[in-house]
């Protein structure tokens, strides 16, 4: 019994110490980073963390002369876990900024916590339509896109190619629905079928592929991020459909999935706001330094967006000369997008979603004989998402 008291006492002391910590580190910029660091999609979270760390390296590990403290939290790709981690960052760590969020459903679950506490949240990937429309907030910025934008660009490209009909396949969650809606918003041909699969557990797409082939559609469009994209392309090629029906994609082929997709990805076009070969000096430096710092790895758009998020934070903190209580001034500065984005310059819309170009990317063999992504053309210039009217901020 006595021992238990001792133990309880010791624990109380330790927890008191832990609580005392934040007060001591007052003069730093505290950033919470929520992404997926475990499970099959951990590779995406790792890429975002790698790029964010590289951005901090480029900033000299300091923002406006203050040391930066980043707390990485794993959302396990689950909305409930993401919400808990966001609450922890806001309430007990009292961070100044929250960055990250790969998944739209995780972001939607976490949004209210951040907004209610007036903590700046910067989405470095997820772009659910609600965030651009009715749920837009002065405290929320995006360094990515609104979900519908990228597939909408793909729809435009399919029109250019003269595609008459399409069969749509995507995962049954917030982003999947936005993506398929995005293609439908611009594609002028006929949508002959639309299938949603259970996310993220369904990995076998034989039933959907069979339906797509039997629908006699002229083309197939899919959105499968992460490992699901590898599986989809494998099965699409194995079923022999690759030789019959061309595939158009958004967020399905990237530098993380490409080493696993291999030749199956050749000839599969995708739309993207950032490609590794975009010809601006910042981007060249980013790609080069990334490959130097993390040998064997290549950066993705997830990473580029996380890098931009660090630069956006830097611009805001510098503008208020490190006084993190001046939230309105920081917001005003961030709205200017006054930093060198890796995708080239862009503007923010009223809803804090970038108005930006979208490029057509293709898979090619590069100088090292490795498969890599290449910009082929600009599909659309200065594209703004179609939900900005629903946002109450003007």
């Amino acid at each position: 019994m006595k021992k238990a008291f001792w133990l309880a006492g010791a624990m109380a002391v330790i927890s008191a110490l832990a609580l005392a910590q934040p007060a001591m580190a007052a003069d730093s910029v505290k950033i919470g980073f929520v992404s997926t660091f475990s499970g099959p999609t951990a590779v995406i979270g790792n890429d975002m963390r790698n790029s964010f760390e590289l951005a901090l390296d480029h900033l000299g590990r300091k923002i406006d002369g203050k040391p930066v403290e980043v707390i990485y939290e794993d959302d396990q790709q689950k909305p409930d876990v993401g919400k808990q981690k966001t609450e922890k960052l806001v309430q007990s760590d009292k961070v100044d900024f929250i960055v990250g969020y790969i998944w739209s459903n995780v972001l939607l679950a976490s949004l209210k916590t951040a907004v209610d506490s007036k903590t700046f949240l910067i989405s470095a990937n997820a772009g659910p339509s609600q965030l651009a429309g009715e749920l837009c907030s002065p405290y929320v910025f995006s360094t990515s896109w609104q979900n519908d934008q990228t597939p909408a660009a793909m729809g435009l490209y399919m029109n250019q190619k003269g595609v008459k009909s399409v069969f749509l396949i995507g995962p049954n969650y917030a982003a999947g629905k936005d993506m398929l809606a995005g293609v439908k918003s611009t594609f002028k041909g006929e949508v002959v079928g639309e299938e949603y699969t259970v996310w993220p557990s369904q990995l076998d797409f034989s039933a959907e592929l069979t339906k797509a082939r039997n629908s006699k559609a002229e083309s197939i469009f899919v959105f499968y991020p992460g490992a699901a994209g590898v599986q989809f392309l494998n099965q699409y090629a194995q079923a022999g459909i690759k030789a019959q029906i061309p595939l158009y994609t958004a967020f399905t082929v990237d530098e993380l999935s490409l080493p696993l997709q291999k030749d199956n990805a050749i000839g599969i076009p995708g739309a993207q706001e950032w490609v590794n070969d975009l010809p601006n000096a910042e981007n060249k430096k980013f790609v080069e330094d990334y490959r130097k710092k993390y040998p064997g790895l290549r950066p993705t758009y997830y990473g580029a967006q996380a890098y931009d998020a660090a630069q956006l934070i830097n611009s805001a903190v510098v503008a208020v000369k490190g006084d993190l209580t001046k939230k309105d001034a920081m917001k005003a500065e961030m709205e200017k997008a006054n930093f060198k984005s890796l995708r080239g310059p862009f503007k923010y819309g009223n809803n804090h979603i970038p108005i930006q170009n979208f490029y057509l990317q293709d898979v090619v063999k590069d100088a090292d004989g490795q498969l890599s992504l290449k910009t082929v053309a600009t599909i659309v210039k200065d594209d703004q998402d179609k939900f900005h009217d629903k946002c109450s901020m003007k």
């Binding site: 639309e194 699969t197 990995l203 034989s206 490992a227 194995q238 080493p259 997709q261 291999k262």
Partner: protein, 305 residues
């Protein structure tokens, strides 16, 4: 019409793959009365071994055979080193220990192969679609899974029903204490059964690998389905596992294939598109619930104790 044939094949292929996983699980659960949550890890290890050996040897068939041997060996070692000491404990201890093994295997894989996952490419002769009846094409590899799994099922049937070892396995399933009392080396039998179960899981993993990616935690989702199957089929019954796996495979695939169109007839397009995947993934659990109410011992229970 062709669509139905093709979807039936898809369902059959998925079901047979589930059977390979469930057969090992039901053997271990039924005969040794041992709950092995780490069965999915053996499935994962089979896939990782295959991806590695296929790269080393350059031959898909040779690599697959080596991987099969490696998983069998791993199963035997695992039983000998760790699981053997848990037979006398109650189920909760076994669940905890084997859950620990899942974490162990996931992190071991992360250390050895890295977090990014591996790809297992098929040889060219398996990547072409085959015309099975005029107008119906089916991926050669999926056809091969059907053939291999059926052959394994037939072999398993022969071994269990026609050989002395099989007789002992069946006897063990109906009354463990009695065969021990009759002087059968039950420890050896258990090791053998566990090794066989591991090899079957490994086979399922390595055959699924080219369709999916080889990644950490790949065995966890599919293990739940395997448990559903042994509950439906009857714990300890290979025949039950076979029938239940095919049921589950076909119901799952047919649900995904036809439910959305059926729902669209009664609901609006958007609502049907959203509801259908959720509903079709519920179908098999619904089936399990009905079976549990009507026949709690499963469709084909192993002989009563």
């Amino acid at each position: 019409m062709y669509l139905v044939v093709e979807q039936l094949l898809n369902g059959l292929q998925f079901g047979l793959l589930l059977f390979l996983l469930a057969a090992g699980l039901t053997l271990v659960f039924g005969i040794m009365d041992f709950v092995n949550l780490a069965h999915g890890s053996l499935y994962m290890m089979g896939a990782y071994f295959a991806a590695t050996f296929v790269t080393w040897t350059g031959s898909f068939v040779l690599g697959a055979l080596l991987a099969l041997g490696a998983t069998l060996l791993l199963g035997i070692v695992l039983e000998y080193v760790a699981l053997r000491h848990l037979y006398g404990r109650d189920h909760l201890d076994q669940v905890l220990a084997t859950f620990g093994l899942i974490l162990f295997f996931n992190d071991a894989v992360r250390l050895i192969w890295g977090p990014a996952g591996l790809a297992l490419s098929l040889p060219a002769w398996l990547t072409v679609p085959v015309q099975i009846i005029p107008g119906v094409y089916y991926p050669a590899y999926r056809l091969m899974i059907i053939v291999v799994a059926l052959a394994v099922a037939a072999m398993l049937y022969l071994v269990v029903m026609r050989t002395r070892v099989g007789m002992l396995i069946r006897a063990g399933a109906s009354n463990r204490e009695m065969i021990g009392a009759l002087g059968i080396n039950i420890k050896l039998l258990f090791t053998l059964v566990f090794g066989l179960g591991a090899a079957l899981a490994g086979l399922a993993g390595l055959m699924q690998a080219p369709i999916l990616t080889v990644q950490i935690g790949m065995g966890e989702n599919i293990l739940i389905l395997a448990f559903v199957i042994i509950v439906i089929g009857g714990i300890g019954s290979i025949r039950g596992a076979f029938m239940a796996a095919i049921f589950v495979g076909i119901i799952d695939t047919m649900g995904r294939a036809f439910l959305p169109d059926l729902l669209r007839k009664v609901l609006s397009g958007a609502a049907a598109s959203t509801a259908a995947p959720a509903l079709s993934s519920m179908l098999i659990y619904l089936l399990m619930a009905i079976i549990l109410v009507l026949r709690p011992e499963g469709l084909f229970p192993a002989a009563k104790r």
